[in-house]
């Protein structure tokens, strides 16, 4: 089965001291940069556009098209901002990537900056991951010393400075306009659009904001070409990507594969579901295709192609490809409550539906989780979600409703049990919890 995998980003992760410039250069790093420096910005944009690369941060917006939105007649400088504020529950792809091969990202930043003609780029890293911040800063320092950053890069006349900025630990700052506010030193809260960041982003200047994985995918495309890239994936979802398998699976981890692979295949690669505490094979109960903000799916969706279209057709979203897998020991009500508590905690407070809605949802779910549910609570949950979805200022509110509405869709009877029986009785937490010893065994 190993030939299903297409390690590109993750190819050198197992190398000795893979994160150093030496190791990166030994495995062919910065060759794409050399090629890009002899390519015009317009050609680079066209290349990425034609490659079909779509944003890996969740929304799947075509990366090259985003770059082409930068106005050429704006007197302000253009900025590149890399969204490395990976905070979605379940999502864990950018942080390993930056730890194992930070230079892949740095090389992508240089090429992308050349394409959009930015002379300053920012990498906004989630505040809690100090080890990643340190590793990125070391990589940036190495890149400066090697002449890949700074003035007149590689004699091309291109200038670029990169700033690695640590956030302060707010999920909302992964929302691109909130990220910009935070980067400018304000409270991270989403901005009104228009103006869009491409016109008035960071410091009211034209700004491209891309996910780490999107930018890190660019060097390979530049080096190997669009045909090679298009040979992987599906028609509208081209290329390779990192699938993060976690939960009740034997071998959780990063699986880099072409877009369109199925969970069934990935589970096989991951050794299948973990054994049940009673020794039998665990059954897949539900899973998220792309983090907690994407509606959950069930065992009936095992063969859904994991690309933007396939997951969409199944009623969910590809999102960040964070495949959280839950077996039959898991209480869906408890799981949804935990996620909702997260959204309540992370709601920035700017808009009413998200701020007040998550506050309310948590209280209803707690009641159901403890077996104290009241008649009408399920309908109430659905109605509250309906009043949040599409009414909030940004997508955080929308995301908060996804697990609830999808869980009720597939597991309504469990919510009904919440009217009389605590989830801890139906699904003892000890059975579903992955204890550290077990996960590392």
């Amino acid at each position: 089965m190993t030939d299903v995998l297409t390690p590109v980003l993750s190819a050198g992760w197992a190398d000795d001291r893979a994160w150093t410039l030496d190791a990166y250069t030994r495995r062919g790093g910065y060759r794409a940069l050399a090629k890009a420096l002899t390519t015009t910005p317009a050609e680079l944009i066209d290349l990425v556009k034609e490659s079909g690369l779509r944003g890996r941060g969740g929304a799947g917006f075509p990366t090259g098209m985003k770059w082409s939105f930068i106005p050429k007649d704006n007197p302000n400088p253009t900025y590149l901002v890399v969204n490395a504020d990976e905070s979605e529950p379940g999502t864990c792809k950018d942080i390993p990537l930056m730890m194992a091969s930070p230079h892949t990202l740095v090389e992508g930043v240089i090429i992308a900056s050349r394409a959009i003609e930015a002379e300053r780029a920012f990498i906004y890293v989630r505040g809690e991951v100090l080890h990643v911040v340190r590793r990125l800063r070391a990589a940036v320092r190495e890149a400066y010393e090697a002449g890949h950053l700074g003035r007149d890069i590689g004699g091309s006349g291109m200038n670029l400075d990169v700033v690695v900025h640590a956030g302060a630990g707010a999920y909302i700052c992964g929302e691109e306009t909130a990220l910009l506010d935070s980067l400018e030193g304000r409270r991270g809260q989403p901005r009104l659009r228009p103006p869009f960041p491409a016109v008035a982003g960071l410091y009211a200047s034209p700004t491209v904001i891309n996910n780490v994985e999107s930018i890190a995918s660019v060097p390979a495309i530049v080096e190997h070409g669009i045909e090679w890239f298009g040979s992987m994936g599906t028609e509208k979802s081209k290329g390779f990507t990192l699938y993060s398998l976690s939960g009740h699976v034997k071998r959780p981890g990063q699986y880099e594969a072409p877009l369109g692979i199925t969970l069934r295949e990935l589970l096989e690669l991951g050794g299948g579901m973990r054994p049940s505490p009673d020794g039998t094979d665990a059954e897949l109960k539900f899973w998220t295709p792309g983090g907690s903000s994407t509606p959950i799916l069930t065992a009936e969706h095992l063969d859904v192609p994991l690309d933007y279209e396939g997951v969409g057709a199944a009623g969910s979203m590809l999102g960040t490809k964070a495949l959280q897998v839950f077996d039959q020991t898991t209480s869906v009500v408890r799981c949804v409550l935990r996620w909702t508590e997260f959204y309540k905690h992370e709601s920035c407070g700017k808009c009413t539906p998200c701020r007040e809605g998550t506050w309310w949802l948590v209280q209803v779910l707690r009641r159901l989780d403890s077996g104290q549910g009241r008649a009408g609570d399920i309908e109430l949950l659905q109605e509250l979600c309906g009043n949040i979805l599409g009414r909030s200022f940004c997508a955080l509110g929308d995301g908060a409703t996804s697990p609830i509405t999808s869980a009720i869709q597939y597991f309504r009877d469990e919510f009904e049990s919440g009217m009389h029986t605590p989830s801890a009785e139906l699904f003892p937490p000890v059975a579903s919890t992955l204890f550290a010893t077990e996960a590392t065994a």
């Binding site: 009104l192 992370e346 709601s347 700017k350 009413t352 701020r355 007040e356 209280q363 209803v364 509250l384």
Partner: protein
Amino acid sequence: MTIEANHETQAPVELVTLTIDDVSVSVPKGTLVIRAAEVVGIEIPRFCDHPLLEPVGACRQCLVDIPDAGNGRGFPKPQASCTIEAAPGMVVRTHLTSDVAATAQRGNMEFLLVNHPLDCPVCDKGGECPLQNQAMSHGRGESRFHETKRTFAKPVPVSAQVLLDRERCVLCARCTRFSEQVAGDPFIALVERGAQQQVGIGPSSDGAEGAPFHSYFSGNTIQICPVGALTSADYRFRSRPFDLVSVPSVAEHDACGAAIRVDHRRGAVMRRLAGDDPEVNEEWISDKDRFAFTWSRQDDRLRTPLVRDENGDLQPTSWPGALAVAGRLLESVRGSVGVLPGGRLTLEDAHAWSAFARVALGTNDVDFRSRATGPEEADFLASHVAGSGLGVTYDQLARARRVVLVALEPEDEAATIFLRLRKAVRAAKTQVVTIASHLSRGSEKLGATLVPAVPGQEVAALAGLELGAGDVVLVGERAALVPGLLSALATLGAGVRLAWVPRRAGDRAAVEAGLLPNLLPGARPVAVAEARADLAAAWGVAGVPGVRGRDLATIVDDAADHAVLGLLVGGVEIADLPDPARARAALAAAPVVISLEVRRSEVTEHADVVLPVAPPVEKSGTFVTWEGRRRGFATALHEPGSVTDTRVLAGIAEEMGRPLTFRTPADALVDHDSIGRWDGAAAGGPSAAPTAPAGPPAGHVVISTWRQLIDDGRGQEGQAEYSATARPAVARASAATWSSLGVPETGTVVLGGSATFSVVVDDLPDGVVWVPGNNGVNLRELGIGHGSVTTATTGAESTHE
């Protein structure tokens, strides 16, 4: 329906036509959908939206369905109508015609009430609350929320004056946006997140945590709060909106003419709110206009006429008796009476004072100014201000290329001008230049360019500016203290528009009424015989005096020297006069002193007859703004015993057998208007030369000073919380100045031998010290004013901070 082209600019406005609830409407390009709906009479519920604040889209109450954005495609989700601009061909469906919009609004309203305490019965806002009203009109009758609400400690004092109840707050950010965008005092901000988000006090400019909400405009946040989250310490729990009687009026504390609403109950004013006048103050007023209204009901309020008896004691007397005594006394010294009417009169009362001086007393010894001044200013007012009608307006300020401030600090002295200028500056339409000793906080907020000038040497700074067409010059009352400054301003080039911005509400009306030694009503020069004859005919008298009269300083001097035997004084604070000691001597020396005043003052102690007159809240009248705009107001409190200056003066005149042609303010205004503006040549302009600059002698400094908006003025008495928000009284000078005086930068300085101030280092010309005019110390008592040279010595170590 169509909004016509903007009549102010006369520029054609591009219109877009859209359909809202099946009604077609054309609105100027850029109009927000929520505003376009108002044009066709559809009120979409809203909280965060405010027409004078930038859109934020936070509360989500104004969601509408837009099945066609004008491009044939609709929005898949309901949209906030406060953030979406109208587009040609757009189709909008509000709650009236769309279930999607109605459901979204109902759902949002339910969310807003989740963490709202619903304590309407004890809330100040109850009865006039947008949340309460819209919950009724757009919400569910019963809440489905039975769970636990978020609680906070309350109230939190945001300042001494503004209290915050965080539980009631719906986080619409109106107050924080107002503070940042309109007032420029971003001392409050939203902090924390989620349901714990709350309005918090931000760090002060020097980085200290928890700086109180110091803003001259803080009260506006209370008024625009759509719930009862912000309340004033002053009005809290005092009355219910439905028990109040509201009367539109005009603020009496400055020459800006801000529209206010006076709310009273059982004969007492409970609060004042900003009125809505797009041409003047829009919807904002200063805290002074809002909170300083208790001055007229202090214990020292005069209610009955008083006449001094043979023992020298003031005895309550009937009106007819008091008027008879006043008439007899004035008649006995007629020809030797100085008239000091003060600068707080309505146009009607000012006209009555002018007529009384000329007809009953036969004198031009009249001067409305109760501050340091000189003949140059009188000539300037006669030639450049009187009769000039509506000159520079607020709207023109907002559209001027450049506004030059000369001896004027709008934030302190003309708050409405400050707000309008700031709006223009923020819109990148106007550049502000200030000729001053330093860049004050107000000037900083205007993004002003400083042309530094040592007080007294502003003429040279003015000469350095190349003023031309499109420039507006605003000159304040302190210019009168700088020899040659008003003369230089009087000869500015063509195309430069000049406006005089006095501090007091009655100053401009007094000029129009001719309450000056060289000026008669309607801009008639005293020196012109035809002008006098014209006036005499109108008043049915043989003639009006043709000799230029004594001005303030001369009246005071001559009275002290027994050359003036009578003084007729109205609402003048002795401590405001250029030389208070000399003025006291004059009052003591004058054989006849008649006083018209609202409250007891120093003049009362010397008066032979005290005639109580009505404060603005108890009378009707017309203030004239610095623009020359008439601002009529009606009586708010009908007090039977409260009479106007006009009635009192007409009564005295009749007792003297020299009646005026009118007895009431209404008739006084008719008389003023029928006399009309002089159509002959205007009075000659001022022609004083600047004095040569001379550095202060050792141990002395040049004083730069003005009165801060919130100070120790008597018109602000009785409002402790408001007064507590005054800016601290500090002395500002350069480090070099302090060093040369031997004053440590953490120490205090003693000015003029007795006035002690904490020291602050600021960017002033060396040798110049700025101090507030009347915070803690009234500098006038020390004979110190703008441009004075006085001693400066080091004081004790500072206790502040």
